[in-house]
Symmetry: C2
Subunit: 717 residues, 2 copies
Amino acid sequence: MARTSPNLVITTADVKNMRAAITQEGKFKTTFVAVKASVDKQIAQKITVPVPQDGGGGYTHERHKKNYQLMYDAGVIYQLSQDERYAHYVRDMLLEYAKLYPTLPLHPKRKMGKQSPGKLFWQSLNEAMWLVYSSQAYDLILSSLTTTQKQTIEQGLFRPIVKFLSVESPQTFNKVHNHGTWTTAAVGMTGYVLGEQEWVEQALYDLEKSGKGGFLRQLDELFSPQGYYNEGPYYQRFALLPFVTFAKAIQTNQPERKIFEYRDGIILKAINTTIQLSYNKLFFPINDSIKSKGIDTIELVNGVTIAYGFTGEKGLLDIAKQQNQIILTGDGLKVAQALDNKFEKPYQFKSIAFGDGHDGKQGALVIMRQNVQGEQAVLFKPAAQGLGHGHFDKLTWQFYDRGEEIVSDYGAARFLNVEAKYGGRYLPENDTWAKHTVAHNTVVVDETTHFNANVEVGNANYPELLFFEKSDNVILSSAKIDTAYKGVSLTRTMALINTPIHNGKEQAKSLVVDIFDVKSKEQHQYDLPVHYKGHLISTSFKLNTNVTNLPVLGTDNGYQHLWLKAQAQPKAGLSQITWLNENGRFYTNSSIMDGEASFIFTQIGANDPLFNLRNENAFINRKTKAKDHTYVSVLEAHGEYNPSKEFTLNAVSEIQKLSHKKINQVEVIEIGFSDEQHYLLAINSAENVKHNQKSTFSFNGSKYQFDGRFKLFDIKE
Amino acid sequence: MARTSPNLVITTADVKNMRAAITQEGKFKTTFVAVKASVDKQIAQKITVPVPQDGGGGYTHERHKKNYQLMYDAGVIYQLSQDERYAHYVRDMLLEYAKLYPTLPLHPKRKMGKQSPGKLFWQSLNEAMWLVYSSQAYDLILSSLTTTQKQTIEQGLFRPIVKFLSVESPQTFNKVHNHGTWTTAAVGMTGYVLGEQEWVEQALYDLEKSGKGGFLRQLDELFSPQGYYNEGPYYQRFALLPFVTFAKAIQTNQPERKIFEYRDGIILKAINTTIQLSYNKLFFPINDSIKSKGIDTIELVNGVTIAYGFTGEKGLLDIAKQQNQIILTGDGLKVAQALDNKFEKPYQFKSIAFGDGHDGKQGALVIMRQNVQGEQAVLFKPAAQGLGHGHFDKLTWQFYDRGEEIVSDYGAARFLNVEAKYGGRYLPENDTWAKHTVAHNTVVVDETTHFNANVEVGNANYPELLFFEKSDNVILSSAKIDTAYKGVSLTRTMALINTPIHNGKEQAKSLVVDIFDVKSKEQHQYDLPVHYKGHLISTSFKLNTNVTNLPVLGTDNGYQHLWLKAQAQPKAGLSQITWLNENGRFYTNSSIMDGEASFIFTQIGANDPLFNLRNENAFINRKTKAKDHTYVSVLEAHGEYNPSKEFTLNAVSEIQKLSHKKINQVEVIEIGFSDEQHYLLAINSAENVKHNQKSTFSFNGSKYQFDGRFKLFDIKE
């Protein structure tokens, strides 16, 4: 049967439109011209297909990576320009590979046991990526080849590599894991090009077509029902590419499979969720993540392009505009033309609790957003461990305001590809610092790490999301975990509040309320760190600062990396710490202290002989001996520091009163700015609370009543 | 004689054009609408003219400041809208002041001896500023007043305040100093409005009209012939406003004085120099400066507006566009309309040595600029002390690349107007850290500060600029000072280099060559710090890092604020230190070490009980015992770190060879990247070198010859 070509991500119909588009000015043509210029420069060089020799980052590794991208790009330019030189270049390179591939043993730099080996590359993951691109390149030039050439390339290259990646590597191929996705995508797409429907079936349902593995099972297992990927946004973005690429190829070849509707549209949900997991263009840096990764990464550019092609949602164009990168495909053309016509509408970022795990019930990743004189976001993380790249940070949180990190997460300790920094790999400090609990904004018991830093134990246990609710002024969530420490129960309730305005007199204020309840039958030491970004401005209590000598705070579990800068033991009552962020706004942490707990001010950098760590600051609320302890604190964004225009507004917190009581099942947080501006946040913390269930409580002699989970009372004192 | 009104900065002709402009869409109208809305909001409130009571930042202080701005704005809106309500508001407020002023004693919060006192304000400086604005406000509403009202206001307010600021305060009025400029401008402008030409004469020539003081003498003395203001850009910007405002009023009333041509156009030069003293919109932060101050400050907005009005130079529009602020004056209208019509042309930033002092011969502030894959700037500072706000940093330098600070200056230790930080004033650490030599990038002898930190001695002595020269690939400057330390001569030569390209093979590289020659008959310890911005990536030598305990480096002169993070004693030869800046580029300092000198790695923050200092990093090249010592180093910008796109290029310095020889009078710096790419920078360091003077030297067996001061030889090894 003569096959239509191309017919994977790009179709013949696409090509027709794309050829028309490059005759007119616009974003698509601009991209075409740039890619063509880049390809022209590269194909002027001799084809180089070296015998595999080097591991990641080495010459042959990088060369084979460049080759697949180059073949793909040249294939696209061939289709658009109809200039045979590009097809010949791809053909000749594929012929070189067809000559080389059958001669190859397993890669000399393979790491058996640690990762599945490839032949062109040290790991089969790269081999699968190579095939995802080169199968598309082959599809793009197919019509230019003679039957003999096709036979040579298929017999010498594509059949052996598919065999190697599928039947010869069942453990990876059948694995329900991101590496399995790349492999099944590669094999399935090659199956479409070579007309081997059997390979497609194996890719979809596993080698035995049992459905226990394969692409569809991966779609069932690797995402939560809302499209959240267990390892977090940094790896979600990475995992996305083979999913969207193979799905698009399936849609093209077998639209009857309705792959984009599979599992209630899980692929589109995954793309949207990846976008939702960002703030000011960057992904929330939970788990092992490089903090500068964001929505403009190529994987998400592909995702957004394909999603727009399928749905035509104008909000996606807003993201595409920020990505500022056009893909030379049919969907890419649709995006380019829509942007040329300014069709974009603001993308709607929402407050959502993303259930974790394949069933969405293994904890959750909670995002709360509001706009009060700038956009705020709280990320609250009662999520599951997230496998080997997960951090031991159950119930941690982060806070963002006006585009900047305010309460931060260290992310991964890594300088990606910087040879001098441990070969560009994860630094040793990723294990000794970044993964540990104290590197996050959550409770550390007895200076040890959640699950004793054991990944398997972490993967087997997860927090429970107790509730997630919203009203006009409050977004509220609560979660608990009893397994992070033996015999210790941790429950955290967080609220992002936008204070109501009285008679237009005050400005609305942005507050985060944090109630962290720790319960144990034994006595422990509890530490609650806040890793803050900015310059410490003031404390409402006296600091004992180490001025001539900095000691280390502890010996293990990340504590060995903290310099002890200052200590303080504030009096019982309201204690405040104010800092100033780069964004010119002040932030005050107000805590209710009991007169015994202390604050410890730290800086990262001890036991760091090679200056691998960033010297960031934190304060730790420490309760040395307690069974049950409740931390109550409020983070307040206020004022403005504008040295350029020479004004400073509200550099001082306006909170004058903070109290916490538990009255039966009702938690009551009192936040007072002045007699006129005074709030009670009342939360019914019972397990199940119905929508119309009434709660009542007395406070300072007055009676209060509310329906459902919570209410923010606006009272006068 | 009936006076035309208004006729100071704004004229009746201006008003006609401005009234026409607000009937059409454009930047001018937009600004008018915004200012009018702001004024409307304020004049809806009751007029408040409180009895003076508070010092700077306090209520009555801020209220009187707001009042003068409000009267001025309301006056402008009156002229534009012709709505009498605005005139009445100004009139009523002036009448209040006319009632209050005659009753006022000296301000209760005055600080006698320290600063000249005012009546409305604690210092007469603020009183003069008040008058600069309110005299203009009065001028703007003059035509709406009855003769009686004028008499009341002039007798009760303007005559007494002028008398107070002039004949009753001769010491300030006659002083050739920035405070004198505000005072003479205020009195002179009021003189024009009230038709008191005598006041104008006094403002121009001093109270006795001797010419020993007054505005013209200030123009003679306070700027160098190139328009550089002795205290540096931060205070130059501040000083600018009364100069340009009064000059504009003089031009309006007495064009025959040709004030803008005075002293070869010194006012326009001063405006242009202020712009030149910026990088990426921010002023170079020498001396006491708040680092976020830049070209968008209101003083420079006024300066650029008036300069454009006078010259029509389109480069100024480029700056005005970046300032993004329109002034409601005739000149402001010209700027607005020119920007509406997109007339702007790129402003030309240049490499210049600004002579310091009234004669331009008291040292110089040198700026070198180039564009090599991004804009670089070197600021080299063999400038004079710059009075009380000057830092003890003779021959220091700073380096900027791709919009960011790379080798930095701390600026002032101050959180402007942040009450919790020492009342928002200069912090104690400004004296104990920021002004000291070790806080800069220049040689410290025996851990003491230049001039023993004595301002008077500093003001009396200054470096000598030896030369400043340019060629296609090199910008070169050299300076010396023998008075910073007794018996020690400091000579520094700096070059900013843009390496020539061979056959289009390599990319041009940006290098800074630094030769710091210290000579003494006695033995001393010499420290040369480099305050770098970024994360330390690697060193070519082994570090002894303090991992469990951080000691303080020293006890005084700023050393007490430095934590000693690590030490190293590299072998003789080339030693390299690489860091990564926020801008994603790598920077390597290559130094020639003698095997005895050491590197000390520090962080600011010791002896800082209230967390007042920023915790920034430096390395110090220390030679403990030497009489003569020459530091030779090269700073190289290289590579790119792009974790978002997952690539890292050239993270390692390409310099493989660095040597320095002095062959007779010729300094020869050899910089080798590879056999193919090898340079010799030869500099004839004799006192006077003529343009066509020939120098010869031998190097590695070859003979070289060049004309004039220097040559960059591009050789193969």
